[in-house]
Symmetry: C2
Amino acid sequence: MLGPLNVVGDITGCKLENGNVITPKGFKDAWNKLYEAGWKAIGVPQELGGAGAPRSLQVLIEEILSGSNAAFNMYPGLAYGAAEVIEQFGTSDQKKHWAEKMFAGKWGGTMCLTEPHAGTDVGSAKTTASRNPDGSYSIKGTKIFISGGDHDLADNIIHLVLARVDGAPAGTKGLTLFIVPKIRTNADGSLGQTNDVSVGALEHKMGINGSATCVLNFGDNGQCIGWPVGGEEKLNQGMPQMFKLMNAARISVGVQGVAVASSAYLNALEYAKERKQGSSIAHWKDASAPRVAIIEHADVRRMLLHMKALTEGIRALAVKLCHHQDQVHANHGKDEQKASYHQGQVDLLVPLVKAYGSDQGFRVCEMAIQTYGGAGYTRDYPVEQYCRDAKIFSIYEGTNHIQAMDLVGRKLGQAGGANLQAYLGDIAKFVAAHSNHPTFGAAVKKLGAAQEAVAGTAMRLLMWFQSGQTAMVPLSANRFCEMMSELTVAWLLLDGAIVAEEQQKKVAANHPDHAFYAGKVQAALFFARNVLPGVEHKAQLLADEDKTPLDISDAAFATV
Amino acid sequence: MLGPLNVVGDITGCKLENGNVITPKGFKDAWNKLYEAGWKAIGVPQELGGAGAPRSLQVLIEEILSGSNAAFNMYPGLAYGAAEVIEQFGTSDQKKHWAEKMFAGKWGGTMCLTEPHAGTDVGSAKTTASRNPDGSYSIKGTKIFISGGDHDLADNIIHLVLARVDGAPAGTKGLTLFIVPKIRTNADGSLGQTNDVSVGALEHKMGINGSATCVLNFGDNGQCIGWPVGGEEKLNQGMPQMFKLMNAARISVGVQGVAVASSAYLNALEYAKERKQGSSIAHWKDASAPRVAIIEHADVRRMLLHMKALTEGIRALAVKLCHHQDQVHANHGKDEQKASYHQGQVDLLVPLVKAYGSDQGFRVCEMAIQTYGGAGYTRDYPVEQYCRDAKIFSIYEGTNHIQAMDLVGRKLGQAGGANLQAYLGDIAKFVAAHSNHPTFGAAVKKLGAAQEAVAGTAMRLLMWFQSGQTAMVPLSANRFCEMMSELTVAWLLLDGAIVAEEQQKKVAANHPDHAFYAGKVQAALFFARNVLPGVEHKAQLLADEDKTPLDISDAAFATV
């Protein structure tokens, strides 16, 4: 039922009436059914009423939900993310009081970081928290771009608000994360009076119109209270706590990218099979030749295969990350070295999933529109909405440049570079094992060259750091992030394709799985031949050390 | 006044009331003022009441109009284009009766090609024309996606309709272009009864909402009449006539791309100078360092310079094309060899302007949104609209694949390849002249390598044709079109930069022109170092002869 609501949410949007957000018709019903069916409890620990499924399964369910209705799925997604933070960092009372109901969909949740003057620059947040005699804190400030900041889907909304306690240090180190309910609660969990959180405005956006993006005012009347996540001893721990939520949210955004891309691809594929236009290239000079479905045209096939390879490749990337998360969990307390290896890989892959998933997800939507032609530009087909919806993914939860800086500024050097070395080593092992493969050998050799290009560029980034050419690092970060993403996606596609080719031999040629496996082989080869070589190319561009963006004066950007 | 109407048109859109299209409030007034001020008469021949200005000037005025309001400017743009066709191919009576009023904005105009089953495949059009005893033809059929198909800006609308006269051959060779007025006219040019042209529906689109995209029904009541452009002896000449209009329209679409891109860039530039966020990279570890305008951040500068280089480069490409048009005109009847050289260059460059201008125009809009961050995704700033508006440019007037096929299938081989050789020769001469230039030598050497890559790939395309690997051509056409576009843009940027550097030496360092010239130098170097090397890279990819999109079975595209 989420799919049909996607266009409803887009057209209707959310409304602000008497200070309350009204979500599109049908959303409330969908919310109830989603929780009744248990889809949101798949990943919730069993002790909190969930199924305790591995992340690598949960992520695929999330992809389906976002692919059906990205705007809708933000409400339960944020409730889940906020609950996870309380579950990990909260006191046992907080877990019991807040997290359980949030996991169950009784209450919603948000993350409140951004302020009018502080988006990317979270550390300059001005929202304040003053301690009250009873141990609660009075919160005062304005947060913007708050997804699901208000809605009518749940009885209460639990905001996680970054604020600075009086006297705390400047910057990110002085921020505390507060639990701030929309409606105050009694000790037994029943609802009390409202908590002086008001919706200042609703944003009008390019897409995801079904998702309410709010300006939230906390404590306009001095009556907004909240409690530090984890209690009094966790003051000024807001950023590390928030990073837990942000990491999960960043993965979710990358998954949103592939989810919407996948929906766009599948719609374009269906259209390409049905829409007749032009004749086969074999009869291009014969005006009376029969019209064919556009999937028969080489350029349409190229776009479809590109979309398929990107979609399946980014999905593989996200699942790989989640598999590492599962292995952290499985090895924790048993084999700490192994757990630490997997955690290192999680840390490395998060910016890739977020940035590459969102950038290329948008690209896939663009190709889907192009596959439809003029029809794709109309609202009669869903792809233009997918494209509008997808544009936000490269921006929120940290712009993709922030992801790239996270990768080159923090992740590459983590554990003295050991995480990167392990990652490069995994690929090197794969290359050594398969570079003479009869079908994929040439592609695997390209992978080896790309791996060396990434390794070499990582050294170059380090050299820039060390030699004081610091500005070259942010200038090159996005390109490096893309290189590493393409390397990883190519690796995972080839890895899957080798398995697929083996499996294909085991099924009859007329079995549907036969075509499925063949598709995996072709997608991997397509990516290896058309995208993967770009990694080396980009390494060469970076080696050129172009500094024009740094050299040009501000005045010289003018065009007249 | 067009600029402020841009958002009005987007929000209001067009309405269909009692069969008539109502354009957004203010459009009619803008139309009147535009013609009163004479902006649309700049390029009109003096004998028809215009200024007779060269195309290379007119195109820049068109860019400004489209950059202010792309949706609005489609109405006068199509009126102009249709009038040009009548002026070139019509009988002298037709010129006098129709074209003059269309040039003057008294009447509007459209081009009616696409039908529900025939978009890219124009030749399968089913609209019919039956001769009446009085020499007029009765027109019957449905056309879709007709921009400005109806509106309230002018007293009449003159449709140019492709239809097949009874008994004419199948395909494009049997199509005739008809003049079909919305309202019939008397011999003195006064308006008579309506002409059985009705608006079947109005499309709801991703963008350009101010432009009415109509389904038009001709002759539902058997009362629609029209006349062949050029009279009875021009039957079945519809496609070559329409190509005149399409060529002009294709250039206009490329110009729309750069126009909207330029507006997006200039808005992003202004925002980047004003918006404060984060501290300088020089103080990245100091939380209390002062906040700076985001233009100080390397990644923002990279995006801005990329946008600037693309915008100025595509503008140079469009002006180059128009300069060739002017030279055709100037040399016609004087130096036919020269005229023919210039016409050949016009023909070669049209698909480049259309495809590269539209694809990269969209890319610039995307970067503009990214420069704004979250604010760019909201409707509070114009860039998200520019992005939505710009998406259609890669589709209409022939999708960009059609442009690419026009390039590789028709233009490369035109005049036995002489046009391409002349083009490559022009660049080779430039490379020879400047490859040791102190500032640009290295960039010019890259240009030389890219020129060789384009020449080599053109030979490869020919080889595919000749060796029966025909499907490799459409599979590779878009990539080749992009290669040739990037080569041309790099050439023109470098050509301009060499001049700019010389000019810069002549002005004082504190003179505003000094920065202007410096910007030209930096933009050319940026493009040469970051985009131009991609030409060789793409040539290598094409040399790999990947056939996966052709090899994969339709069934294997499925993902599950």
